[in-house]
Symmetry: C2
Subunit: 99 residues, 2 copies
């Protein structure tokens, strides 16, 4: 029991952060609006969780312009992908312990 | 995506609460010390998460005496088992979305 708890990543305890990581793990990049619609959360809520994941360097941001309008796209980093995969593995262990 | 996020239970976001529920789902009852050793957490940390789960009525408490010493044992409630199973199902969906 101790092991799978330890292997769960505190950075991914929030549902919204889990959702952001899951979305970015299967999409090369997503912009703020796409993430927001995907997860059905408020701007403020999404922004604070994005900030937390950026601080951990689990996601990165690309700022460009499309038709002179700013376009901010997020992507999962290499270490973010690794950390998320480890978290998923720990969740799988938890689930198996229940079967 | 929206669905599995919504189906994740906010009460189980914390690793410690997940651990308490997982432990009580597979053991009829556990006392405070057993849970503490199982999860390798401090008294204060465990107590606060137990309190939160009791408030949700996901776990219950039985207070008895063994050799005149108080013995407090925790168990999962019927609605706790249901809520935890739904949470596990939502986690399974999240994991499947990553494969």
């Amino acid at each position: 029991m101790k092991n799978f708890i330890d292997d769960l990543n505190k950075a991914f305890e929030s549902r919204v952060r889990l959702g952001i990581m899951a979305a970015l793990a299967v999409n090369d990049t997503l912009d703020f609006t796409a993430l927001k619609e995907y997860l059905d959360v408020t701007d403020g809520n999404l922004a604070s969780h994005i900030k937390a994941l950026e601080k951990e360097e689990y996601i990165g941001v690309n700022k460009t312009f499309i038709d002179r309008k700013p376009n901010t796209r997020y992507f999962i980093t290499k270490q973010g992908k690794k950390a998320f995969e480890e978290h998923i593995t720990a969740l799988e262990k938890l689930i198996k312990s229940q079967k």
